[in-house]
Amino acid sequence: MRASGSLHCSYERLHPTLLFVYFLLVLAVTMLLRHPVFLGMEFLLALFWIRTWNICTIRASSVWYVLAGFLTLTFLNPLISQEGATVLFYFNEKPITWEALLYGALSAGMMLNTLLWCLIMSRVMTTDRLLCVCGKRFLNLGMVITLVFRFLPLFIRQYTQIKEGQCGLYGSEDGSFKEAFRRTKQALLAMMTWSLDHGMRTAEAMISRGYGIGARGHYARYHWRRKDLFALAGLVLCAILTFVPLGLGYAACEVYPSFWWKYSDIGDWICMAAFLGMLCIPMWEARRMAG
């Protein structure tokens, strides 16, 4: 699947620190801003990441789920919030306002974007990349992260095994809620002892391999290149050009009490363009490296 085109998986050649900073910045903007233009750009770029670099496959069912969830969130907000100036109609004496509807849609868009970008980040920032980001400075943190990341899949595998064992012992799972609770409790107790035991064994294995004898080194497959430096500089520049106008009140968007957004000023344009640039930097960099 991977490495089929020139553009495909070329993000893998980017330095993890660059990617890490990139994702932090994008997630910060995604979670903080409710501006429709920003939401649109984030969504499109997220789709681009997913489609082009095979983050995950998009199934029909997930599209339906996302659409239905989006609409549900949109229509739930006016039921809960009665703020807003433009009343559309009254539902059981409560005003349903246009602004509340809009706010619901924007919030739903924001949540969707955050989910998508978190998904992309979790797929792209694999353990080795995270370790590389931790680097020499935070050796201990890096090791703890490694251990945790290793432990999680092992835990899940073990839990499934115990569950399957229970199925074999007591028959299929169609029992009452109480029964299911009892079994789960049993399984979790077993998992507790297992994880302690597993921790002991890991520690012994580490000691037998020479842990604690002397200073530890650090290995990474990734190398910091000049191009990465340029990309990082571009990223920082774009971030400054995005956040400074935002701080000055450009590209602002307020829903309550009545909707208004800024999009026509030169400051707004600079802010949006810088953010688009920031979003596109990995693509541009990957293309440059591939080419």
């Binding site: 199934r59 029909a60 069912s61 997930s62 339906w64 789920y65 659409l67 239905a68 609409l71 549900t72 229509f75 739930l76 039921l79 809960i80 009665q82 703020e83 807003g84 100036a85 009343v87 559309l88 109609f89 009254y90 539902f91 059981n92 004496e93 409560k94 005003p95 569950k163 799972e173 029992g175 809620f177 299911a180 789960t184 009490p257 009545s258 208004w260």
Partner: protein, 600 residues
């Protein structure tokens, strides 16, 4: 694993159903009343304020004044012509309603103007001129057809008949000329006539600027009238413009620090109202000047922003004269505090209509589009029968007009259509969830999922189907219908105290409550009427008052908050379920010790 998933789905479904059922819980939200103040557009704020107050005043006039004092909306203008509040009401209604449906009314008025044997025919003529000016329509249209069904002979306003009558006759002459005046196309003869009339009026201007009926001290009311008369000619005559500037400066000098105006050393609502009318006239003419791109010195002097600022200051000052019932009082020097006054209320209504006219966004002549709704509301209130054919004809004409306009208005969707749309949207969302469930990879729990979805769907459709959906207008009408009918009114005494007996709203005072109304609903109504913010939380059908007028629970220690006393005893039940009874003495107080400090 499967078991857990299904439990989650069931819990989610329950939460959704709960939300759907809870959300339309019939307690109106209190935040909604605050938004008018937050408009960024200042014009909009003024416009909304005026709109709101007009509805209130009209409602007050129709419910309180006519029911209690047995007065008509239009009472007999013949006996009190020119000085009674009824004139101002008629003018205000004309402004709101435009001249379109008032032909009958004008006919009646005109018929009185022709009877020369009557001594007060002059008053009628003046009033006719004023009314014509309000709707800005000449009695005879340019094509010679009689728009209003009568002819206004020249002699009524001819200079020689009005010459001896002092400043008011000159003002009325200018007003009349304004109705027949067409800025685009001014005949030479008329031009001279207008210049002459302007000169006549300016001859009476005081040296310090402004005008007065007698004496040398400028009078706010007369100056305001003169400004109204001169404002239409601002773009036409240099002299008029200069005089307007002087009058404006006078008004600015006379404006007090709190924004109000005084006549005879007493600040009063009428002077404020007149000043607002004058400012609005200036605002209109400045707008016209700006549109035409004429003389920059003129419209730079009348900065629109400054005028708007002055108007809103004056409105703020004027609103202090509002009484609890909805009418306006004359001044604070009255015995027994502020008392409602017909004339003051009428002039205030007129001032608000001027604001509407000046700040209306659409250029719809002087026709105020929402007037039909207000008149429609007024129409529903019972008007006492009157022998005067004029007022009867006028109101009848107006109400006919109202129903005609109402049937024409089909811009808004009906509640049935809204219900259909909601059903459609809801089914669409549910269908998507269904599709998602069917197309999903995991097939094992699909039956249960579909069942849960169907349950939610049926619940939601039931809520939408049996829920109460009202369009904006229906809601408004329902709210207005809530005003208490006399037969189910009970009088209770009511007050909101704050901190050691200092009244937040008013001292113990009789308030009309509906029979069986809860203490909470009474509080809510009183707060709404007096523009006091009220913050409540509703849980499981019981209401808890968190804050009144910005003073919140736990502001002064953990045991502080709002409680209410009925007949001097702290009531610990929910204020939403405690019903008021006749003669109850209800007092809301802020306690600091769970009510122990307020118990006598």
């Amino acid at each position: 694993m499967k078991q857990i998933r299904q439990t989650q789905v069931v819990i989610l479904a329950m939460v959704l159903v709960l939300l759907l059922v809870w959300a339309p819980f019939p307690y109106a939200n209190n935040h909604i009343h605050a938004f008018a103040k937050e408009y960024s557009d200042e014009d909009e704020v003024l416009y909304r304020t005026a709109e709101e107050n007009i509805s209130k005043l009209l409602l007050w006039k129709t419910t309180k004044a006519s029911v209690n004092d047995n007065q008509e909306l239009f009472n007999d203008m013949a006996e009190t012509g020119g000085t009674s509040p009824s004139d101002w009401y008629a003018l205000a209604l004309l402004r709101l309603y435009g001249g379109e449906n008032a032909a009958n009314y004008f006919e009646c008025l005109a018929s009185r103007c022709i009877e020369p044997e009557k001594t007060d025919v002059e008053q009628y003529r003046r009033f006719l001129v004023m009314a014509l000016f309000q709707i800005s329509q000449p009695p005879i249209s340019a094509t010679g057809e009689q728009d209003l069904g009568f002819c206004c002979p020249d002699e009524w306003i001819a200079p020689d008949t009005l010459e001896k009558k002092g400043i008011m006759s000159k003002i009325y002459r200018l007003l009349y000329l304004a109705t027949v005046w067409d800025a685009e196309n001014v005949p030479k003869k008329q031009e001279e006539e207008i210049s002459e009339a302007i000169e006549d009026l300016l001859a009476l201007e005081l040296s310090s600027g402004g005008f007065a009926l007698t004496g040398t001290n400028a009078d706010i009311d007369i100056t305001s009238m003169a400004v109204q008369a001169l404002a239409p000619y601002a773009s036409f005559s240099e002299r008029a413009r200069e005089s307007l500037l002087r009058s404006y400066q006078l008004l600015c000098r006379r404006q007090q620090e709190n924004g109000g105006f005084a006549s005879f050393q007493t600040e009063n609502a009428e002077s404020c109202a007149q000043a607002i009318i004058a400012f609005c006239a200036l605002y209109c003419s400045a707008c016209v000047a700006e549109n035409e791109g004429m003389d920059t010195s003129y419209h730079s002097f009348f900065s629109l922003d400054e005028l708007r600022e002055r108007i809103s200051q004056t409105v703020t000052a004027m609103r202090r004269f509002a009484c609890a019932e909805g009418g306006y009082g004359h001044a604070f020097t009255d015995e027994n505090g502020l008392r409602e006054n017909e004339l003051a209320s009428a002039e205030v209504l007129c001032a608000y209509t001027s604001i509407l006219r000046a700040f209306a966004k659409e250029e719809a002549g002087f026709f105020y589009p929402q007037a039909k709704e207000i008149v429609h509301i007024v129409d529903q209130e019972p008007l006492t029968e009157t022998e005067e054919s004029m007022s009867a004809a006028a109101t009848e004409e107006m109400s006919n007009g109202a129903s005609v306009v109402e049937t024409k208005d089909k811009d808004e969707w009906t509640s049935g259509q809204i219900r259909l749309i909601l059903l459609g949207l809801f089914s669409f969302v549910m269908l998507m969830f269904l599709l998602a469930a069917i197309t999903g990879r995991k097939k094992e729990g699909i039956k249960r999922k579909v069942a849960v979805l169907l349950c939610i769907g049926v619940a939601g459709i039931c809520v939408i189907f049996f829920g109460k959906i009202q369009t904006k207008r229906e809601h408004e009408e329902a709210m207005l219908a809530e005003t208490i009918a006399p037969d189910e009114a009970v009088i209770v005494t009511f007050s909101i105290d704050f901190k050691d007996g200092t009244p937040l709203l008013f001292e113990m005072q009789p308030v009309t409550a509906r029979k069986g109304e809860s203490v909470y609903l009474l509080l809510k109504r009183v707060c709404e009427e007096n523009h006091i913010s009220l913050d409540t939380s509703v849980s499981l059908g019981s209401v808890y008052v968190r804050g009144i007028g910005g003073h919140y629970e736990q502001d002064e220690g953990a045991l502080s908050g709002w409680i209410f006393l009925v007949n001097g005893k702290v009531v610990n039940t929910d204020c939403g379920s405690r019903k008021v009874q006749k003669g109850d003495e209800i007092r809301w107080v802020y306690t600091r010790d769970l009510g122990k400090d307020v118990q006598p």
